[in-house]
Symmetry: C2
Subunit: 224 residues, 2 copies
DNA sequence: TAGATTGTTAATCGATTAACAATC
DNA sequence: TAGATTGTTAATCGATTAACAATC
C-alpha cells in the first residue's frame, strides 16, 4: 500500500467514502465515476481522484471505479482487515451502550474485554465481553496484545487510567471522556469523541443562522 | 457580536478554547496570553489571536486575556447563553445514556422531551425528561419551539423521522445514527456523531504507525 | 474508432504563520 | 518609561480545483 504523507482532511473523508460505497453496494450499483461519487458526497470529482491517488490507482479510464473493488481498497487503507484487538475501560452508561450496541467487528475490531471498578460488574459478561477488575488491567495488558483502548471512564479517572494504559504499551486511545488527553510530549494516538464539542458546534451554526435571519429582517423592516 | 464569514476550522476550535479556559479557571488562573494558550493546545499564538479576532477584541496589549471574560465571550459566541430547547428521538441504549448522563444544561440546552415508539417507555420519565409517543411528535413540534433534535433512533428510522422533524420546522439535528443525513438540497443543519468514522480514523493512524515501524525495521535489517 | 473518465500536473484559493505597529 | 502582548496586515504554506494528456 502506497502511503505518502496523507493530510488529515483526506483521512477524515475515507470513512465517508466507505459508507457511501457500502450504500451503493446495498443498492446493487457496481460502477461509479468520481463525478457521481462527488455529487452524492458534496465533493468535487477532482478532490475524490486526488484523495484516492494518495494510495494508488484504483480506477480505470473511461469506466470509473468498480464499487466492490474500491470498497475493499478503502477498507484496507483504513486497516479494517488487520483484526485489531480492543478493550474497553469503564462500564458505565456509555461504555455499556457501546459494548451492547456498537458492532466493533463490523469495523475490523475485536472487543476482547472490559474493565471496571464496581465489584458487582466484575465477572459478568455483556454481549460475550467479560468484565474484569481494574486491578487486573496491568496484567492483562502485559499478557495480551491490545491495539486500542476505549476510554469510557468518569472524568476524574481519565488521566490516571491513561497513565496505566500507556505505561503498559497501549499506543492508541478512543477517548469518550470530556478531557483533553492529547499531551504535547506523548506519542499516544488519541481519537476523541467529544459530545459537547459537537453539540457546541451545532449551537454555533444555529446561532449564526438566527442572527443572519434577524439581521435580514431588521434590514427589511428599515426599508419599509 | 461581530460575525464575519468564519471558517469551519475556527468553529471547531472554539469548543476546545472553552474547555481549556474552564480548566484554567478550575486551576484558579485568571490571566493567559496567546502564547500560553497556544502551548497548552498545540496551536500557534498567531492562530489563536486570528481566531478570536473573527469575533472582536477580547484581549489587552501587554497583558493578554482575562480568563473569565474570555470564557464568557467564547460561550456567548457558541450560543451557550441562548437557552435552546432540545428534544431527543429514540430512547434506546445511546438515547437513554444521553438523557441520564449528558448534562445538556451545562452547554446551554434544555432537554424538554424524549420520544419513542415502544409502548412500555411512553409515559415514563428519565432524569426529569418525559418520554412521549412518536405519534405525538408532530403536534409537540407544532406547539413548542424546538431548536434542535437529538436523533438516536435505529438506522432505518433515521430518514423518515428526519422527514417529520424538518417538515415541522426543526432546523438542526444532532445525528447519532450512522446514516448520512446531509442532503444536497436541504437547509437543515446536521451535526454528526459518527462513532464508526471516528474509530476508522483511529484505525488508520494505528495502521500508519505500524507500517512505518515495519518499514524502518526492514531497512535496518537490510543494513545488517 | 469515439466517448468517457482516469491520474497527475498546474493554477487557484484559503488557512496558517510571521511580522510589526499600536498600546496597555 | 520599558516590557509585554495584542490585533492586524503581509507572507507563506497547504489544500482544493481546474485542466489535460493518457488510455480504457
Amino acid at each position: 500500500m502506497k502511503r505518502l504523507k496523507v493530510s488529515n482532511n483526506v483521512i477524515r473523508r475515507l470513512p465517508r467514502y466507505l459508507r457511501k460505497l457500502d450504500e451503493l453496494t446495498a443498492q446493487g450499483i457496481t460502477r461509479v465515476s468520481s463525478s457521481e461519487l462527488g455529487q452524492q458526497l458534496g465533493l468535487t470529482p477532482s478532490q475524490i481522484r486526488q484523495d484516492f491517488s494518495c494510495f494508488g490507482e484504483f480506477g480505470q479510464q473511461g469506466y470509473g471505479y468498480h464499487v466492490p473493488a474500491l470498497r475493499e481498497q478503502v477498507a484496507s487503507i483504513l486497516g479494517m482487515d488487520r483484526h485489531y484487538c480492543a478493550i474497553l475501560i469503564g462500564v458505565g452508561n456509555i461504555g455499556h451502550a457501546l459494548i451492547d450496541n456498537f458492532c466493533f467487528s463490523d469495523w475490523g475490531f475485536q472487543l476482547s474485554a472490559a474493565f471496571d471498578v464496581k465489584p458487582e460488574l466484575i465477572g459478568t459478561t455483556f454481549n460475550k465481553v467479560p468484565v474484569m477488575s481494574m486491578e487486573d488491567l496491568p496484567r492483562y495488558l502485559d499478557e495480551n496484545q491490545v491495539d486500542i483502548a476505549v476510554l469510557t471512564v468518569p472524568k476524574d479517572a481519565a488521566v490516571p487510567v491513561t497513565q496505566i494504559l500507556t505505561s503498559h504499551g497501549v499506543e492508541a486511545i478512543w477517548n469518550f471522556t470530556n478531557v483533553e488527553l492529547t499531551e504535547p510530549n506523548s506519542s499516544t494516538i488519541v481519537e476523541n469523541i467529544h459530545f459537547s464539542d459537537s453539540l457546541l458546534s451545532l449551537s454555533y451554526y444555529v446561532s449564526e443562522r438566527i442572527d443572519e435571519r434577524n439581521a435580514r429582517a431588521a434590514r427589511e423592516a428599515r426599508k419599509g
